[in-house]
């Protein structure tokens, strides 16, 4: 894995992470600090899942 592919992977995970954190903010009713922290970690789990599934399907 060279630097370019690593960069692309990081970019993909970051993109999903940002999108899912935004989605969490849509789902909840009131936002506070703890809510942001929990939302960001849940979104990270989702982003990693997205990356892992794409890889599992992609390189066969």
């Amino acid at each position: 894995m060279n630097a370019r592919t690593t960069g692309r992977v990081v970019l993909e995970v970051l993109g999903w992470w940002a999108g899912l954190t935004l989605l969490w903010q849509v789902l909840i009713s009131t936002a506070d600090t703890l809510e942001w922290v929990v939302g960001a970690s849940a979104a990270l789990v989702g982003a990693l899942a997205a990356r892992a599934t794409r890889r599992a399907v992609g390189d066969r």
């Binding site: 899912l20 989605l23 969490w24 789902l27 849940a42 599934t53 890889r55 599992a56």
Partner: protein, 247 residues
């Protein structure tokens, strides 16, 4: 007993049961009545501990011991299924064949999977505030993972799902529930009593004392349990072949 005789016995028993049940229904308090003594007290108790979702408060605070029982039924049935569906000596493991899946279906699965996982986590995390909780969210998060089987194939699912880890997670979550209960005993009160943590501000994530912790433990337990269950069923349906020499 022949089929006809069995039907007659069934009809007699069924008619008797039906008569008794209908008589019982006519004696129940009428549907939609205002007399709910337990419900009113449960709502009061929940509000006094600042848990917004009364049902979560009943499950994880007022009747937390009962939920421990439910959880052990769940755990036991998962263990039973794993034992029943293990690979026996006269079975071999075939390679699952790759599937041809239409492109829109595959794209849909890949996009919706993270969204469904996030929704499952949201339902777990907000269990003590809005409708939801560990039981529901756990099932959603676990089912979300299986979109990969539905939208791609079983080999792809196997790559991202280490069953051993989920088995460990199942056991860890079950013990986390018990440990939280025992912590209350060490704190000088009763098993699973909700006196350990501050009750927090009403309608925020940290409210309700130990309710969010127990809720999260149940969420993890259910999610891992469903993944392990489905793994066994998928193995049986897709992978495991019987030896030709049998019988």
């Amino acid at each position: 007993m022949t089929r006809g005789a069995r039907l007659i016995v069934l009809a007699l028993g069924g008619a008797g049961l039906a008569a008794l049940l209908v008589a019982a229904c006519l004696d129940l308090p009428g549907f939609g009545g205002t007399w709910h003594p337990y419900g009113d007290r449960a709502v009061e108790a929940s509000l006094s501990r600042r848990t917004a979702n009364t049902i979560a408060s009943v499950n994880f605070d007022q009747r937390a011991f009962d939920t421990l029982g439910e959880m052990s039924i769940l755990f036991a049935s998962v263990v039973g299924t794993v034992v029943l569906l293990r690979q026996t000596r006269d079975e071999k493991r075939g390679k699952p064949e790759p599937e041809e899946v239409a492109l829109p279906v595959r794209r849909y699965a890949l996009i919706v999977l993270p969204v469904a996982v996030l929704s499952g986590l949201y339902v777990i995390a907000h269990g003590q505030l809005s409708p939801g909780g560990g039981f529901q969210g756990g099932v959603v998060a676990a089912t979300a993972l299986h979109l990969l089987y539905l939208g791609a194939d079983y080999r792809a699912l196997e790559r991202v799902r280490p069953v051993g880890l989920f088995e460990v997670g199942d056991a860890l979550a079950a013990s986390a529930y018990v440990v939280t209960g025992l912590a209350a005993v060490l704190g000088g009160t009763a098993f699973l009593a909700n006196t350990l943590l501050p009750y927090g501000t009403f309608n925020t994530l940290a409210s309700g004392g130990t309710v969010p912790l127990l809720n999260a433990a149940i969420g993890m337990e259910v999610a891992c349990a469903v993944v392990v269950l489905l793994a066994r069923f998928l193995d049986q349906a897709v992978e495991i072949e019987e030896e030709n020499g049998k019988r």
